[in-house]
Symmetry: C2
Subunit: 204 residues, 2 copies
């Protein structure tokens, strides 16, 4: 449907939208640390997490990343954060690669456990305001970490003003139920279908 090109009608319409939006925003006065989930099979779960980390750094909000699954390509952003923003952002890697690379359930469980113990320390730290638990949903999905333990901690021990972002496909329904903000990244089209490989700046 084409938008109206009449300037007076356009102005009236936009004034209405603005008034409705201003009224809506007036009711939004609360502040609290959010539990945020990025899930789905599409792109952008981790990259928007990293975008939020860069926002925190931009605002000089101390933040942290725990990477539960390292993945099988170099992550430029990890080296970059460690080299340039070690003071602003604590970066922990607990995973040793995707689970189909290690093929060793006990080692994966130990890595997930080590990551979660560090995650708890970082979330409890009153100086840190934002913690990204990257790909933790994979560890939860394969029962490398007990879901109830993670949910209980987020519910009962997370400081009220600390934001925690949990990413990865197949987020557990009980985590979605607990979360404040949940986004599903849906793949509409992917160039892997057309024989294009993972490329620098896009996938890693």
């Amino acid at each position: 449907m084409p938008e109206s090109t009449d300037p007076v009608r356009h102005r009236e319409k936009m004034q209405k939208i603005k008034a409705a939006r201003d009224r809506m925003m007036e009711t939004k006065t609360g502040e609290k640390g959010l539990i945020i989930v990025h899930t789905g099979a599409g792109k952008g779960k981790s990259s928007s997490g990293f975008g939020m980390i860069m926002r925190c750094i931009a605002h000089e909000m101390p933040c942290a990343v725990v990477q539960f699954i390292k993945g099988d390509w170099t992550t430029g952003e990890r080296e970059f954060l460690r080299a340039r923003f070690a003071r602003e952002c604590t970066f922990v890697v607990s995973g040793e690669g995707f689970t189909w690379e290690t093929q060793d359930r006990d080692r994966d469980i130990a890595a997930a456990r080590a990551g979660w113990e560090q995650a708890k320390t970082l979330i409890r730290d009153p100086a840190i305001r934002f913690v990204l638990l990257d790909e933790i949903n994979i560890a939860l999905r394969y029962d490398y970490l007990p879901l109830d333990e993670v949910l209980d901690f987020l519910r009962d021990e997370k400081p009220p003003m600390t934001h925690v972002v949990l990413t990865g496909r197949n987020a557990k329904p009980d985590l979605i139920a607990l979360a404040d903000l949940v986004t599903e990244m849906t793949m509409v089209k992917h160039p892997f279908r057309d024989g294009i490989m993972a490329q620098k700046g896009i996938e890693f």
Copy 2:
């Protein structure tokens, strides 16, 4: 469905997944500059764009951002990129705020046009490998920019190895048809519903 806890079965299952994945990846040998769209009503369209910009900077890939709609809150990431990474990332702001803030169609059209002219120059620049056209879908949706002109340029004049990311809700179907990689961010849950305001590090 709980995953098998038997180590041998687990290993066999993971070996199968790895073998299938390795076969799939072997066929992915092409490299090309992608046309990427982030759309949908959910979060993460712009923040994953910024995450990709940070990846480019991490890889020392020269990149650029054209912001078509500035939004009505300060964007910490803009000041941060300009202050810290002006050499790596060219940052252009063409919009003057959401369209319901300006309420002036002619001014919005002029701003969108100015942004698009700069976008074309940046995309044509052989030194720049990645260009983020942030919220351009809003300008296209309101017909502030002719869709055909944008599609023709991307199809015919974009250098083959340059990636272009176009973000914003309501991406036009013809843009989705042209794109290589399209992700829809779907809102599953949003704290605005519960009276929580926009917060630093999350929304801006």
